[in-house]
Symmetry: D2
Subunit: 138 residues, 4 copies
């Protein structure tokens, strides 16, 4: 069964009531917010910074997102948001999952495909490649 041990980085967060919709559960789109925040925190632990990459004209863009919704989070739930990254061709692929902290139940899984645009062109970003290599050596 999928657990946070299958990932490279995890972040604990708590549901905020304004994130719940009229069904009383966290709105589907909010998981994309949770996952984005987790990715940005993750790449910082890799020594990368979204804003700094931009300054060096390395724009990392999300090309594709796939999320499978398995269960719901409700008001007051605490959850663990996990992520790992791999490279496939020119793509940096983030695999992500969100777990209910209480019972480790899988809430959602996601696959986020990103590409680096340097000087307007899609290409390998050496600084990111090295950071991923470092990560995998750990």
């Amino acid at each position: 069964m999928l657990s946070k041990e299958d990932f490279q980085f995890s972040l604990e967060m708590k549901v905020r009531d304004y994130e719940c919709d009229m069904q009383g559960i966290v709105n589907n789109s909010v998981y994309q917010n949770y996952m984005e925040h987790t990715r940005h925190e993750f790449i910082q632990t890799m020594g990368l910074n979204f804003a700094k990459l931009c300054e060096e004209d390395i724009i990392v863009v999300v090309a594709r997102i796939e999320i499978a919704f398995k269960n719901s989070l409700v008001s007051n739930d605490t959850f663990v948001s996990s992520v790992k990254v791999k490279k496939e061709g020119i793509k940096y692929i983030f695999e992500q999952a969100i777990f209910n902290k209480k019972n480790a139940q899988v809430i959602a899984t996601g696959k986020v495909t990103t590409v680096a645009r340097i000087g307007g062109k899609l290409m390998h970003a050496e600084v990111i490649d090295k950071a991923i290599q470092c990560l995998n050596k750990k």
Copy 2:
């Protein structure tokens, strides 16, 4: 090339500045909001209503979402959000796209897989099936 004529329903909206993130473009998660709103408006034209379905204990849940991001919307852009629906087995699948109104450029395409839960069980929802049949006869 994909256009709104390939869909069953379209809605025109305008970017609101608070939807843009620090890259100056509409944040990826917001497209999920746009698509949800479009689906809910669409099913109303089919004579269905999200809140009423709930009252009849027919809960339509999103099981899976896939979005491909092709281009960006920025402040002041007007866009067209289009949708069509089909049934595959027990699944109701919404195919969606967002177009820049100015030049008909595809901004994002999405596939949203939903299922109906009646009395807690996943099953065919007759009222939805009929609504889809009506739609296809038009």
Copy 3:
């Protein structure tokens, strides 16, 4: 009784379901979103543009916001968001209100105090002052 005729600009919008919280009503913070969008659309009709002002190094910042919540909007409601502007000393004050379109009921009223920062200093922004004068001549 307050009505949209008491304002200089009005915009019609419809509640989107993801804006509703678990009480089934539009979340309080969303009115601030509605009001921001209305202000930005309003100043465009005055020949001003948020992004362009920035380019000229005129940063308009919100210093204070006051909102009184009178009634709620729910799923499917259409509403009218109205605004007018006046200058008091160095401040540009936007008075705003949101009305239920169905019955003209006041949903919320707001007072948003903004100031212009030019080259880092709070000061009168001539281009804005002129735009307000034009508006009042109409």
Copy 4:
């Protein structure tokens, strides 16, 4: 100078990039989200729960919100969100402030006026009054 010691409850949070707008700062409306989350966490420490109050038909509604914006939070900032509550007549008034964690700088202050509606009528909510008394004895 205002500090978190002037309040009854504080919560530490970190800015999430999707909360920043195209000016590169946390959007004004997001502070209302932060403050709501802080209030809901606060009342739980008082032994009160938003959802449970609802079940007992005690609806606490926000009647008025005033926020003064002093400084901005940006990507990567950690902040402290503080709150205290007092009763004035039939009103429960929450005074709130948000501080940059790095330097204790005041980012925003807020005053949120709420009232309790029991069985549709605005009235004193004994369970809330007792919780506030307990808090003040500590």
